[in-house]
């Protein structure tokens, strides 16, 4: 059995010995290096740009300004609001203004200083609240009303009535700081044009297909003449799922000069490219009935989106739509605004849109349950929504292993013996969550498959899988080998995967929304099943012999394709399809913390995480996704925050000042896999890459409450914030004694 085995990653060798090629490892004869001039202002009109001195600088081959590629783009077709280089306005400190290509990077960098830009500085907007209060200061002209990217209001059932009749209520405000992906590989693109005008673009992207669409549109070249290739990718987490300025500019400069062009972001520039977690302010009401059942949830969410839309239209929906499991909501309402502000654009970071509301909800649930004297795990069990059920907002849940997840972390953490009993400064907290396995619809409406795979059999016995999917480290190329081996009865090491190359592989929409294993896996399985039939009919003592006999019978080379397209899903209302997924994953965490009550310094020592991924096609890879997710969630609770000064300048855009956890900061992580064998997924599989992040933050917050009786509602949980709450608690206690 290949499915379910712990097959080591098929790209493990090239990654281990340093021979694997990432975008920045590519180099071509006559290749130029290009650099960006960026805006020093948060908001300014561009009156003029003069690049003549830069162009005259020795070693400079070409310059580029916005008017040479003015078309607006964006990953979502309804919010094309970005330009590769600003033509009329800059909208954040770091926005790209001009680009210089030179013989080497240093020369390009030096020439940037010679570019003269005449700016008229404009009033700026640095918070979502200000964006709403000052519609007269227009950050992005794409907004129809004021600075609103998207406003969503949905109500399911009589919420106010349910709140009025509730037995226990938690009503509080929560603040979630923005954070960024910080993949260790900075973004890089290399473009090369041939004598016939065919353009090849290698990019560190997780969406080669959308990059191909947008770059060809903006540059005005036919899609068929643009080949996008994703080499090995050094981490993404959602941070490489937009088309970026460097892809457009490398391609344009290659066309302009006829020479290969490379653009590599510095670490500082990666911070400006951003597309990270949206800061949110959330007013959350959770109302429980006497028996602990959730009567109502009411969320008001203010989302700070930054200068461009990115996936922001979806974010405004996800912030509400993805909260309605694993618990049954009696009634539900959310009201979310995604606002434009003069800061680097936010976008989809692992657990897009739903990590922040999940934090607030899971803390509020604990608080309300405590008023009823209910154990935090017990209240979650009582509200379990079940399997084969529809959520309050019309999403269809198929399999659901949440109860098993809860049971595993309850037992592993010693919850019954230890919760509430660890003594001062130590505590346990629990939280649960749900996430999508892909979205039901592509970002641009079309009837074609969302994922395609072609499989070719060679008479040597070699199997080649051509797949559009992006392996961004999660290991889909390894899963494709396992699926081929499973269906064709060959050795997974006899399978070659050719992936993410728009000339060679069928389209897959990209590595986002936790869709890859699910959709690409089903497509691969379908293609392999077609070939398996022919191999079976042919027979043969060895796999190679079977391939030969089948090819002889066919009278042609053997190949087959498979595709995946979702059936119609989601609620019957506007926006009802957003958040609709063919299957949902479920997670439960218990976190253990230690808090020093004198200093506020705290530490999360261990997190037990159980995740229902439907079926682990490769348990080692699934554990890796769980552990990586939990780490990233805990990191947001501990230390990560995008901090700006009053001028809109990002504080410390480096990996020293924007702190991400080292080995010494990361808790011990215990990953448990739960299999609920989903009817829709490939071999029963659902997602594992994003869901397990969600409960980490509220589980830690709830553990801090267990440790010292304070409810922290603002991220990150800086020691000074903890200390402030501890002092308030102290004053309250003294007041009570007095």
């Amino acid at each position: 059995m290949s499915i379910g085995s712990r097959l080591p990653k098929v790209d493990g060798g090239p990654k281990a010995d340093g021979s694997g090629i990432y975008a920045d490892d590519l180099s071509f004869p006559r290749m130029l290096h290009a650099k960006f001039l960026r805006s020093p202002h948060a908001h300014a009109r561009i009156r003029g740009i003069d690049v003549s001195k830069a162009l005259a600088y020795p070693g400079v081959i070409a310059t580029l300004i916005g008017s040479e590629l003015p078309a607006r783009y964006g990953v979502i077709p309804w919010t094309h609001d970005e330009q590769a280089l600003a033509t009329d306005k800059v909208r954040f400190v770091g926005d790209e203004v001009a680009c210089v290509a030179a013989l080497d990077e240093r020369t390009a960098q030096e020439a940037l200083d010679l570019i003269e830009v005449d700016y008229e500085v404009l009033p700026k907007i640095l918070s979502a609240e200000d964006a709403l209060a000052h519609p007269e200061i227009k950050v992005n002209e794409k907004a129809k009303v004021g600075n609103i990217t998207k406003h969503v209001q949905l109500e399911f059932g009589p919420v106010d009535e349910a709140v009025a009749n509730a037995a226990a209520i938690s009503r509080q405000t929560y603040r979630y700081a923005g954070s960024t992906h910080a993949p260790i590989e900075p973004h890089c693109a290399v473009a090369k044009v041939d004598a016939d005008g065919n353009l090849t673009l290698w990019s560190s992207t997780q969406i080669p297909h959308y990059v191909q669409r947008e770059v060809s549109r903006v540059l005005g070249i036919p899609q068929a003449k643009l080949r996008v290739i994703q080499p090995l990718l050094g981490g993404a987490f959602g941070g490489k799922s937009d088309p970026f300025s460097l892809e457009f500019c490398a391609a344009k400069l290659a066309l302009k000069t006829g020479r290969p062009v490379k653009i590599l972001f510095t670490r500082e520039e990666v911070f400006y490219a951003h597309r990270g977690r949206h800061p949110m302010v959330m007013d959350v009401t959770v109302a429980l009935e006497k028996d602990g059942r959730i009567a109502a949830v009411d969320d008001k969410i203010m989302i700070d989106g930054g200068a461009y839309a990115s996936f922001g239209m979806i974010t405004a929906y996800y912030a509400g739509q993805l909260l309605t499991g694993p618990y049954r909501f009696g009634t539900y309402r959310f009201d979310s605004y995604r606002m434009y502000t003069n800061k680097p654009p936010c976008g989809p970071k692992r657990g897009h849109g739903s990590v922040q509301p999940r934090f607030a909800f899971e803390v509020a649930l604990d608080e309300a349950a405590e008023k009823l004297g209910l154990d935090p795990i017990e209240v979650r069990r009582r509200n379990f929504i079940g399997e084969e059920v529809e959520t309050v907002n019309g999403q269809q849940i198929t399999s659901n292993g949440f109860l098993k997840c809860l049971e595993l972390v309850e037992r592993a953490s010693g919850w019954k013996e230890r919760h509430g009993k660890l003594g001062p400064g130590r505590g346990l907290g629990v939280a649960g969550s749900m996430y999508i396995s892909g979205t039901a619809y592509p970002v641009y409406p079309n009837e074609m498959p969302q994922s395609g795979v072609m499989v070719k059999l060679d008479r040597s016995g070699r199997v080649t899988v051509f797949s559009g999917a992006s392996d961004i480290g999660q290991g889909v190329n390894t899963l494709l080998c396992q699926i081929a081996a499973e269906e064709l009865h060959c050795d997974p090491h006899d399978v070659t995967v050719v992936a993410a190359d728009t000339d060679l592989t069928p389209v897959d929409l990209g590595a986002y929304s936790s869709r890859v294993t699910f959709m690409n896996g089903l497509a691969a399985r379908e293609a392999c099943l077609k070939l398996a039939e022919k191999l079976k009919a042919a027979g043969g003592a060895t796999f190679a012999e079977a391939c030969q006999r089948a090819e002889a019978a066919e009278g042609a080379p053997l190949a087959a394709t498979g595709g995946y397209r979702t059936q119609k899903l989601g609620g019957n209302y506007r926006g009802g399809t957003i958040g609709a997924s063919p299957a949902y994953s479920f997670t439960a965490h218990v976190a253990e913390v230690e808090v020093d009550e004198e200093t506020g310094i705290w530490k999360v020592t261990r997190i037990w995480a159980a995740h229902d991924c439907g079926k682990a096609l490769n348990p080692t890879l699934v554990e890796g996704q769980i552990e990586g997710s939990v780490y990233m969630g805990a990191a947001e609770a501990q230390m990560e925050e995008m901090v700006y000064n009053e001028k809109g300048l990002l504080f410390g855009p480096s990996l020293l000042d924007y702190r991400i956890p080292t080995s010494l900061d990361t808790p011990l992580l215990d990953a448990y896999i739960v299999e609920s064998n989903d009817k829709n997924g490939p071999y029963g599989a659902k997602e594992a890459g994003e869901g397990p992040l969600h409960p980490a933050i509220p589980a830690i917050a709830n553990a801090i409450y267990d440790a010292c009786g304070i409810r922290i509602r603002e991220l990150p949980f800086y020691p000074q914030r903890i200390l402030k709450l501890l002092r308030e608690r102290g004053e309250k206690r003294e007041g009570r004694v007095a």
Binding site: A16, I21, Y22, L154, I184, P186, R267, V389, L621, T662
Partner: protein, 181 residues
Amino acid sequence: MNGETHAVAVAPQRTLLEALRYDLALTGSKQGCDKGDCGACTVLARPLGAEGRGEAILACITLAADAEGLAITTIEGLASPEGLDPIQRAFADCGALQCGFCQPGMMLSARALLDKCARPTLPQIQDALSGNLCRCTGYTKIYEAVEVAAGLRSPSSRAPSQSEKAAASDSKMQTVKEIAP
């Protein structure tokens, strides 16, 4: 360099990482930050003639000129014609490699640790790797790989748990009211 002698003329400001990647085409050493924060460019260095592979250093904040007279091991020099180093094998087998970008530096730091300390404790491993940032793994499988390479344990093998079919709770459709503009 990995047992070979190279003569390279470099500009004074050229870093060792630039010399490795651009002058010697040793692209296994990665540039993640170019200022000594992330550790992806870690290589091992010792004075020529000294024993062992030496200390882990950061190539992006070492001037190439200062590498004169050093014997340097990059990730390309860790494997031998007989195959991968046990550290590399263990990283690949344990799933310690996800995107793989931080791993050349991580594996060299781990190699330096095992060269000094054949049977490290978990705190020793955590300490030795604390200068190498990984964004994918949560470090868990990296610790496992180092312990496997040191012969202290075998790779993780916990079996998934099966979830029993759970009855659906009562589900009634709610009226959906849309009030968006």
